[in-house]
């Protein structure tokens, strides 16, 4: 069964991962800009990263028949440093016209500081200025509930923002309802230990229905599973869900959300 992994940090993965993903039905990945595990020491480091995301990585994915798209930003883990954030935000626009850039992401909050929130706002305004899709990271673990509330409240202060063009990612049992109720898309992240297992993601899909929900592996440099989306498909199939239900979750939903960007094209896969 074909699928899209809407959130995968492929620069951290090996070619074996691309091979596994392709063999298990992955047709496209979208890669949000991420924190490398340490704070970058200058805005120049971000420029090298944006260049990597928009040149080499699509070529690497193409060797396995996978389309690679990307999102650009300064990640929330670095958002507290306002001077660095302002400089990176000043430089992002020159990369926005590259053919695989879908939008701004993954922006959001990490430890829910006032500085992070200011950086988040500036990214939202950049996306609005350029009419781009937005992909949002919600904080980890004990910070998720507060951060999700702050993110939703902040987004609602922009009346011009089209909510159907925003996906608020990494939802779990306590945050999925306020995101969907406000009219945004959401994402369930199939990440071991610290996010949702395939079983819990299947439970959430059963309880909330599949509308406006995408799933992803968020595979990165930590312990993670690049073929987590097929694992969810197997879980849903084992529970007796229909092929149409599964296809909506792993294919038609991400296609519907991402197709709002004119850059998202799959015809040459």
């Amino acid at each position: 069964m074909r699928y899209i992994d809407l959130h995968a940090h492929m620069v951290s993965r090996t070619t074996d991962c691309y091979q596994q993903m392709a063999a298990s039905g992955c047709v496209a990945v979208t890669e949000p800009a991420f924190w490398p595990g340490f704070d970058r020491r200058s805005a120049d480091g971000f420029e090298d990263y944006f260049h990597h995301l928009t040149t080499f990585e699509p070529q690497r994915a193409a060797q396995y028949g996978i389309r690679h798209f990307t999102w650009l930003c300064l990640n929330p883990k670095e958002g507290h440093d306002r001077d660095l954030a302002r400089e990176v935000l000043r430089r992002i626009p020159k990369y926005l016209d590259r053919p695989t850039v879908l939008g701004i992401g993954e922006i959001g909050l990490n430890k829910n500081t006032a500085n992070e929130l200011a950086t988040f706002r500036e990214h939202v305004e950049l996306a609005l200025e350029h009419d781009l899709l937005i992909l949002i990271h919600t904080p980890h673990l004990e910070d998720k509930w507060k951060g999700t509330r702050l993110i939703v409240e902040t987004l609602l202060t922009y009346p011009e923002l089209k909510r159907e063009r925003v996906l608020i990612d990494h939802a779990e049992e306590h945050t999925i309802e306020p995101i969907l109720a406000a009219g945004f898309w959401t994402g369930l992240t199939l990440y071991p230990t610290t996010k949702a297992s395939p079983q819990r993601a299947a439970d959430l899909l059963e309880m909330h229905g599949p509308d406006r929900i995408c799933v992803s592996s968020a595979c990165d440099w930590g312990p993670s599973v690049p073929i987590a989306v097929p694992h969810l498909a197997l879980e849903l199939r084992a529970r007796g869900h229909s092929p149409a239900f599964i296809e909506q979750v792993i294919w038609r939903n991400p296609v519907a959300f991402l197709s709002q960007s004119p850059r998202f094209r799959l015809e040459d896969v």
Binding site: K111, T113, H140, E142, D143, W145, K146, H174, T194, G240
Partner: protein
């Protein structure tokens, strides 16, 4: 009947057959974790805030009320609302520590 009743297509028996063993293993891991704490090299002492949160979560698990996963998530979450003024480390530890509150 709650709107979420009967949303899982499996029967009760099928759910038990499919998921019992993995949850039996989790139960034993949890028990062994508490046993290990009692065998710690530095002897007995007060609970770390994360262990206290686990004990509270276990009590909630057994209260017979629905939405256990959501309620445990909330139990482990920072309940405050105002953005933090200061950044004290970038990592998350899995449970809210009231000692780190900024008075908001």
């Amino acid at each position: 009947m709650s709107e979420r009743e009967r949303t899982c297509p499996l029967t009760r028996q099928q759910i038990v057959d499919r998921y019992f063993l993995e949850n039996r293993a989790r139960l034993l891991d949890l028990a062994a974790f508490f046993d290990r704490l009692e065998r710690a090299a530095d002897g007995p002492g007060p609970d770390d805030f994360r262990v206290a949160a686990l004990r509270a979560g276990i009590r909630l698990l057994l209260d017979g009320q629905p939405e256990r996963a959501k309620r445990i998530q909330l139990l482990l979450s920072d309940p405050t609302h105002e953005p933090r003024r200061e950044l004290r480390g970038k990592g998350a530890v899995g449970a809210y520590n009231p000692a780190t509150a900024e008075g908001d």
